[in-house]
Subunit: 119 residues, 2 copies
């Protein structure tokens, strides 16, 4: 069973975390046939943290997990922190397929999104 | 003359700032007929800062400036800090039309971008 974990930084401002959770809820509906499980995970300041979020999916039966970094820039969080958190779960559950997708800001479609936004 | 100012947080990691600058360069090409000027502005840690970036556009003749917050979440930066920085320029140049657009993460097209990324 496939799971999608949307990973964000986490904020001390609860409304920001709720934006990510709402996004995951919408994805859960529209991706239901492809990803029976959609969860959110935070790097810090909000829960569940990334390892706990991935483990929740595994507990629910996920065998293949895609981790989507909801970050615009390939900074330290995307290049080091998120992989580090994910790696801890991979080491613990080697039988589960866990892959980190490109961060949102690295997607080629981002250019079109911005063009639509400003025209 | 219209100008687009893409506003990002700014990072101590220069490669992250360069990502934003590269995005602006691509937008400059593809939006040339609509926005003769495209600039980047940073909230902190990189230059030009937001007010300086907007003023650079005004010096080059911009009379109508759209400020695009390149942020995923409507946190304090989007709700308070960016408007505060922009307001300082509006007060100084009341004859220039300056508007802040929706932050990237608040665009309805974001859902489709994510769906395409994970399918």
């Amino acid at each position: 069973m496939k799971a999608l974990v949307i990973v964000a930084h986490g904020s001390s401002r609860e409304a920001s975390n709720q934006e990510v959770i709402a996004l995951a809820e919408r994805m859960k509906e529209s991706l239901a046939s492809e990803y029976p499980l959609v969860n959110t995970g935070f790097l810090e300041l909000a829960e569940p943290l990334i390892p706990a979020s991935i483990e929740q999916c595994i507990e629910k039966g996920a065998t293949e997990i895609s981790v989507l970094p909801y970050f615009l820039s390939a900074g330290r969080h995307v290049q080091e922190d998120v992989p580090h958190e994910v790696q801890s779960v991979i080491a613990k559950f080697p039988q589960v397929k866990i892959a980190i997708l490109s961060h949102i800001g690295g997607l080629p479609q981002m250019d079109n999104l911005i063009k639509e936004a400003v025209l």
